[in-house]
Each structure stands twice: as structure tokens, then as C-alpha cells.
């Protein structure tokens, strides 16, 4: 251990600074990829982890979903959406049960010719008995602005790491700590 410390001292300030710079690059490129994906898919969060069992047996806790949200495409019944109601903390992954393509109000259409279709949606979890009206916090229908994206791809289990880190914060700190230490100590 002492020798390790000596070796660490020998590295000098320059090396430590370089390591910090490397570490920052890794974090920055991660962030860039995430935000870049967000721009490409038009979704604020293009990759989500399933947190509840309401879509079982298709999606279990810890599965990873890949989303897109093409702005000019309408949502269809059977699409699985991720939506976030204002006031609710957690985004919900449920399937679209009803779509109603209402025409936009006159004022809105003259002010901005948006290509985003106006739709009213009703959703339901495959594993739930009833639709989601109770989850809409007083709204009668889900609208386009509430929707984060449509599920396009599926990868099982991998997201469980984040759930484990949320449930056991010590794990998160331990992981971050060791990663940081390794990044600083590692030579070359």
C-alpha cells in the first residue's frame, strides 16, 4: 500500500491533471452521445429503464427500452408509449388503447403551422385491469405534449444496474469511488 502511495507521489502534478482531463473527456463524451441521441430521436430521454411491472409479461423491472418520437408521425393503437404527466415524478410505460385525431383549434393553426398531429390518447398497461384515467391526474386524455416517446427496441435485464444503484445508494458511491480512484491511479 505504501509503495502504491510512493508511486502515486512520483507521478507528479502533470500526470494527475492529465488523468483528470481524461476523466472529464469520458464524462463529456457520454453526455454528448446522450444529448445527440435525444436530438436524433426527438425524445428527451431516448433510453429508459422499466421501473414497474404494469407491462408484464412483456417488460419486467430492469429491462431497457429504446424510444423514438418522430414529430410528424401520429401515434397508433398498439404503440407502447412512455409518457410523463406534469406533477408526476416517474414516466410511465403503457400501451395506446384509443386515439382520436382531433383537429386543432383555429387560433393555434394560424399562429403556428405545426406538423405535429393533434391527438387525444388513452393508454393502458398490459398487466392492468383498467385504463390509465386515474393516472392522468385529472386530465381526460393524454396529449402529444405529455409523451416522451414510442418504444421501438428492447433489451432485457441490463437496466437492473441502475435500479440496484437506486435501491442501494452505497453501491452507487462505492462504484463511483473505485472508478474514480482507478482512473487517477492507473499509469499510462
Amino acid at each position: 500500500m505504501l509503495e502504491e502511495l510512493k508511486a502515486f507521489k512520483k507521478l507528479g502534478v502533470r500526470h494527475i491533471l492529465l488523468q483528470i482531463l481524461n476523466f472529464a473527456t469520458v464524462i463529456a463524451s457520454g453526455l454528448m452521445i446522450w444529448k445527440g441521441l435525444g436530438v436524433l430521436t426527438n425524445s428527451e430521454s431516448p433510453i429508459v429503464v422499466v421501473l414497474s411491472g404494469s407491462m408484464e409479461p412483456a417488460f419486467y423491472r430492469g429491462d431497457i427500452l429504446f424510444l423514438t418520437n418522430p414529430s410528424n408521425q401520429r401515434y397508433k393503437t398498439g404503440d407502447i408509449t412512455v409518457y410523463k404527466i406534469p406533477g408526476a415524478e416517474i414516466p410511465i410505460v403503457h400501451r395506446v388503447l384509443e386515439t382520436h385525431d382531433v383537429s386543432p383549434k383555429k387560433q393555434a393553426s394560424t399562429r403556428s403551422k405545426s406538423l405535429v398531429p393533434h391527438q387525444r390518447l388513452l393508454t393502458k398497461g398490459d398487466n392492468n385491469y383498467v385504463d390509465d384515467i386515474e393516472l392522468y391526474q385529472g386530465l381526460d386524455w393524454l396529449e402529444r405534449k405529455h409523451i416522451v416517446g414510442k418504444v421501438r427496441g428492447f433489451l432485457p435485464y441490463v437496466g437492473y444496474v441502475t435500479i440496484a444503484m437506486n435501491d442501494f445508494p452505497q453501491l452507487k458511491y462505492a462504484l463511483l469511488g473505485t472508478l474514480g480512484l482507478l482512473a487517477l491511479i492507473q499509469r499510462e
Binding site: 409479461p57 412483456a58 388503447l97 384509443e98 398490459d126 384515467i133 427496441g153 428492447f154
Partner: protein
């Protein structure tokens, strides 16, 4: 450097890239293996009843009761990357205000190939109501049996297994069933 740490690092990196390649190959194989299924949808009767649907609104509104027969052979959709099918019957129509509607009135999750030969006769399991509270002057509706293949890994795909041969009109509203 041949420390234990770098060996572990190399081995796990190699394993995970092999794993990713394998998963990618499996998810791509779905496109080759999928064949299109066949099925029929027949509507036996429709009734529209004015009633209170307490769950949505305390006001009186029209509820449609649709009886139908489904037959479909969905076994070709099952291959090694099919986790389950989500099968649903959708009504598609335009109401008197020009709003285009798609409403799922029945669904079923199919998890095994043995259960994929669908024969069903019954009525809608979800409440079928219009956004304007009435089906009066609505255009006739198309009923389509659709499916969603949910894979073990990869992309979700959608398709159509059957459709009514002609559009079916909504009957006049009855005061009681």
C-alpha cells in the same frame, strides 16, 4: 503490462462485445424468420345503447356493444426471438365531427405457439364510446385484427392479421339493451 486487473478488463471487454454481437444477430434474425399470418374478422352484431359510463363521465353517453368472431392462425409469427404476441381488435371510424378514431375493443396476450391458433367469439372487453358522446351520424367502421410481436431482444414489430370485408355502420341508439 500483464496485471490481473488488465487481464480481467480485457476478458470482460471481449465477452461483452461477443455478447453484443450475438444479441444483434438474434434481433436481426427476426426479420428473416417472420412470416405473415392469416385470419378473419366477422362482426355478428352491434348495438348502441345510451347509458351512464360512470368511469368516464357522469353524463349519459352512447356505448357500443360489438359481438364478433375471430379466427386466426398466428403460429408463423412464433420463432426463437418471439417472447409474446399482443393481439388486438381495433375499430376505426370517423365520427360526425370529422374526428378520426381508433379504438381497441378487445385484446389478448399470446405467449406460446400452442395458443396461437385463435378462435374467439364474444364481445368487446373495453368500453366502446365516442369522444363526442354519441355515435349518431358517425361513418361506418372498419374492424381490424392487429398484432404486435414483442421479442426477447430487438425491435418491436407490428402487423395485421385480418380485417372485416366491408365497413359496418353503427345502428341507431337504443335506450336500453
Amino acid at each position: 503490462m500483464h496485471s490481473i486487473l488488465s487481464r480481467i478488463n480485457n476478458a470482460s471487454a471481449f465477452l461483452s462485445s461477443c455478447m453484443m454481437a450475438l444479441l444483434l444477430a438474434i434481433s436481426l434474425s427476426s426479420f428473416i424468420l417472420t412470416e405473415s399470418p392469416t385470419g378473419q374478422v366477422a362482426i355478428s352484431s352491434i348495438k348502441v345503447v345510451s347509458s351512464h359510463a360512470r368511469r368516464y363521465s357522469s353524463k349519459k353517453q352512447d356505448l357500443a356493444f360489438v359481438h364478433f368472431n375471430l379466427t386466426a392462425d398466428l403460429t408463423p409469427l412464433f420463432h426463437w426471438n418471439t417472447k409474446q404476441l399482443f393481439l388486438y381488435l381495433e375499430a376505426e371510424y370517423e365520427n360526425s365531427k370529422g374526428v378520426k378514431n381508433e379504438v381497441v375493443i378487445w385484446d389478448r396476450i399470446v405467449r406460446r405457439k400452442e395458443d396461437a391458433n385463435i378462435k374467439f367469439a364474444g364481445k368487446n372487453s373495453y368500453m366502446f364510446r365516442d369522444i363526442s358522446t354519441t355515435f349518431k351520424n358517425s361513418a361506418s367502421a372498419n374492424y381490424t385484427l392487429k398484432y404486435n410481436i414483442m421479442p426477447y431482444v430487438g425491435l418491436l414489430t407490428y402487423g395485421e392479421a385480418g380485417k372485416t370485408t366491408e365497413e359496418i355502420a353503427f345502428p341507431a341508439t337504443q335506450s336500453r339493451l
